[in-house]
């Protein structure tokens, strides 16, 4: 008999704006191919109209979807989102309302296990468990500590300024993890953090690394015409792709760009993404005198994302605290050499990547310059990276999740 999973998750591509939606999609799809049936519940402001979720899953009969009318959305986690006067709703109130709706759905539906992705849905998972007594898995894709990471300069580890942590969010995360029968962390990096900062026993936490496959890899063809022109003019292109926010280290990217430019003036640095640090990072580039070398494309989604990767000579993820770092796998899958910060989950998974501490500007610049200079280095990273990414599949992630589910429902 099929295991029936009640899953509280998040929007999928192309409507997502980050790795969480991609991870939900890739994992859920792979779980159903291993024989699970999933009732996928997610929040959505219904005034937008079309029930697109049914479209997304039209080809997978094992997934049914239910939408809870709610303004809660993934990545709505900056403190300012919680201020009703700015966004027209009180986030915490909505999270509680969402949790209540989760309880009601749980009472109406038949399932064997409850599964919740990240803190905004933990409450719904916990309520569903209280109402039905079914086992609960919470899957941690990021914690409040990652989101509020404050880099400690020249320190070997990411430092956390506890004052910047939103206590309410922290408490919701902690309650979810405590109530869960098993906590799934996207990396050992995240597992260690959960043990250290949330006091969850290590034996309750399992590491399931994210993956990539054709269903979530960006598709498209060629590079953006404008970027292609620049490349024809002899420019090399170094890509940052992610939210422009403290956690992702865009300021370190720009400082590194400065260091690289001193040695090689035919390199362009592209930041693809949007976020609360956009103007700050633009100012920094201006102050460092490299505004002409740093391009901002804004958020890119869909096939444009593929075009950014296709144009890149090197992908850089300088995150200060990165639970996983799915964009790195996307880049590798497309044959782009990657440089990732050691303060990331992905750096513990991949070997065919360059690695550096996010704060080590000289080392990042050294590796960027070397990759652009030595064709055998970039071609080896590219070729071996593709092979490595091909082995890191959602299917193997789903197999681990599957065995955890069987353990809990046996």
């Amino acid at each position: 008999m099929k295991t029936r999973v009640l899953m509280f998750g998040w929007e999928f591509p192309p409507h997502h704006s980050g790795g969480l939606g991609v991870a939900c999609y890739g994992l859920t799809r792979a779980m159903t191919s291993l024989g699970a049936s999933v009732l996928f519940v997610m929040p959505k402001k219904l005034d937008v109209g079309a029930p697109w979720v049914k479209m997304v899953f039209a080809d997978i009969p094992e997934i049914a979807a239910r939408i809870i009318n709610s303004p809660v959305r993934a990545y709505a986690w900056n403190k300012k989102y919680a201020r009703p006067e700015v966004y027209g709703f009180d986030l915490m109130e909505e999270v509680l309302r969402y949790a209540q709706a989760g309880r009601e759905i749980a009472l109406e539906e038949q399932f064997d296990i409850i599964y919740a992705h990240d803190w905004l849905s933990f409450g719904a998972g916990v309520e569903a468990k209280k109402a039905t007594g079914k086992p609960l898995i919470v899957h941690v894709h990021a914690t409040e500590f990652d989101r509020c990471a404050v880099p400690a300069e020249a320190s070997a580890k990411a430092g956390w300024n506890k004052e910047s942590i939103n206590e309410q969010v922290y408490e919701l995360e902690k309650e979810g993890m405590q109530a869960a029968d098993v906590v799934i962390a996207v990396s050992q990096f995240t597992k260690d953090l959960i043990v250290r900062e949330y006091g969850i026993p290590a034996e309750k936490i399992r590491v399931v690394h994210n993956g990539i496959d054709e269903s979530t890899a960006p598709t498209g063809s060629g590079a953006l015409p404008r970027l292609r022109q620049l490349k024809h003019a002899g420019y090399k292109l170094v890509l940052f792709l992610g939210r422009i926010t403290l956690q992702k280290g865009p300021d370190y990217f720009v400082r590194t760009a400065k260091r690289v430019s001193e040695r090689n003036n035919k390199v362009l640095f592209v930041l693809s993404g949007s976020g609360d640090m956009e103007s700050q990072v633009m100012d920094l580039a201006a102050r460092l005198g490299i505004s002409d070398k740093v391009l901002f494309t804004g958020f890119v989604g869909g096939h444009e994302r593929h075009e950014m990767y296709a144009a890149a000579d090197l992908f850089v993820m300088p995150s200060v605290s990165e639970p996983f770092g799915l964009s790195t796998l996307e880049a590798m899958k497309l044959g782009v050499p990657v440089l990732v910060s050691k303060q990331s989950g992905i750096s513990e998974v991949v070997r065919h990547a360059l690695k550096a501490d996010f704060w080590d500007i000289d080392e990042m610049a050294n590796k960027i310059l070397s990759t652009l200079k030595h064709a055998p280095l970039s071609s080896s990273l590219s070729k071996n990276g593709i092979r490595e990414a091909d082995r890191l599949t959602w299917e193997s992630a789903a197999q681990k999740v599957d065995s955890i589910i069987h353990e809990l429902t046996a």
Binding site: N366, H374, A375
Partner: protein
């Protein structure tokens, strides 16, 4: 009587420090890492001397004095001897004492433990003669038997060694090459008339070097008594046991019982009157050759491929080794001792081995021994140092 022939390889490279793009043109020192990582050459040589060279050589010295019938042989790279002279003179003194017993032989090789034979014959010959001078100076000894870096061998190397006047040369006894022939006889290189070829018995050698402490191995634990019995049971004229000297105390830690194994091995060999310790030169004199061995392609003692792919098997390695030998002409033109020495230290085979990606793939990192975090880091440091060397040459040759 059947020979038991031990040859130990003693070598430590000068590892390139984490040399960054920004160091190019500013820092002509490539090998002077002072961190507490494995890039610190002094730290490594002191550690290896303490854990392996000193205790093993002291033990061998005691055994040689106790058993006048015992024999061993060594091949030292020039770069390890330099480092021992500077940082571990006690180890070097012990090696000299072992040589002074007259029961040990030193083999010839390249000073810089390089693959020069396959890239530049003149440079190879300079390094061999440079090495000979050093062996003369330190041990008062003129090598009669040659072995090339990583036990790499090809027919033309055999011919070269004959022309150079050696009595013998060593190579890997690899089954796919030997076919029905056994490594346990003395042979001749293809086309040679005088020089003889000794082949490594890799099964028995690796029982000690690799499998000794492996609990998954059905023969574990390996005792001196058991190994002595295997030597007795081996058919042929000679059993050639070739291995890295660091096997004792470094690859196989003291706690595995490796020293006690070595200590008791001689008496097990002496139990069988048909067995006799011999050095390579003595083996060559004691046994007639049993025909020619044809090795038209390079054979080494490395991993399961027994070729050079661990050193020059990927595009980074190929680019790096080509780049270093491309500098031969300007380096000779510069005629600057320090530049020449740095150029040659960069030829040491280990640098290319650290760039190997073949075990780095497919989830098997166990076989990857490297002081760098990845093959890519090794390549970056190496190519940056090489860029600096090129700048120094340009300045010098203006």
């Amino acid at each position: 009587m059947k020979s038991v022939c031990f040859y130990f390889q003693v070598h430590q490279p000068y590892r390139v420090k984490r040399y960054r793009v920004f160091d190019i043109g500013n820092d002509p020192e490539y090998f002077n890492d002072r961190s507490d990582t494995d890039l610190n050459n002094r730290r490594i040589i002191e550690k290896v001397a303490r854990k392996s060279y000193v205790p093993t050589t002291q033990l061998l010295l005691d055994l040689l004095k106790k058993h006048h019938e015992m024999r061993v042989s060594f091949s030292f790279s020039g770069v390890v001897l330099e480092q021992l002279e500077r940082y571990a003179p006690d180890a070097l003194a012990l090696f000299k004492a072992v040589l002074d017993t007259g029961q040990a032989e030193v083999l010839g090789e390249t000073y810089y433990h390089s693959l020069a034979f396959f890239y530049s014959l003149p440079e190879f010959e300079r390094q061999v003669s440079h090495h000979r001078s050093l062996i003369q100076r330190l041990f008062g000894y003129w090598p009669r038997v040659f072995r090339n870096t990583e036990l790499s061998y090809r027919n033309d190397l055999g011919s070269w060694a004959e022309r150079a006047g050696y009595d013998g040369i060593l190579a890997e006894g690899w089954d796919p090459i030997l076919g029905w022939k056994s490594p346990n006889y003395v042979y001749q290189p293809a086309g040679a008339s005088k020089i003889k070829l000794l082949l490594k018995n890799y099964k028995l050698s690796d029982d000690v070097a690799f499998r000794f402490s492996s609990r998954d191995w059905s023969e574990w634990p390996l005792t001196a008594e058991k190994f002595g019995a295997w030597l007795s049971a081996t058919e042929g004229d000679t059993v050639n046991l070739f291995m890295d000297y660091e096997t004792f105390g470094e690859h196989q830690w003291e706690a595995t019982g490796i020293f006690s194994f070595l200590e008791h091995l001689p008496e097990e060999v002496f139990k069988n009157p048909e067995l006799k310790f011999r050095t390579p030169s003595e083996v060559i004199r004691a046994h007639d050759h049993k025909g020619e061995i044809d090795m038209p392609h390079i054979v080494t003692w490395a991993d399961t491929d027994r070729d050079l792919t661990a050193w020059v098997g990927n595009p980074m390695q190929e680019a790096a080794i080509k780049a270093i030998y491309d500098l031969e002409e300007p380096v000779l033109l510069a005629n600057d001792h320090k530049i020449m020495d740095d150029w040659r230290k960069l030829q040491t085979s280990d640098h290319f081995y650290y760039m190997c990606t073949k075990w780095f793939a497919d989830g098997d990192v166990h076989a990857y021994f490297s002081p760098y975090e990845s093959p890519y880091d090794a390549y970056i440091a190496y190519m940056n140092a090489l860029s600096d060397l090129r700048l120094r040459l340009e300045k010098r040759n203006l």
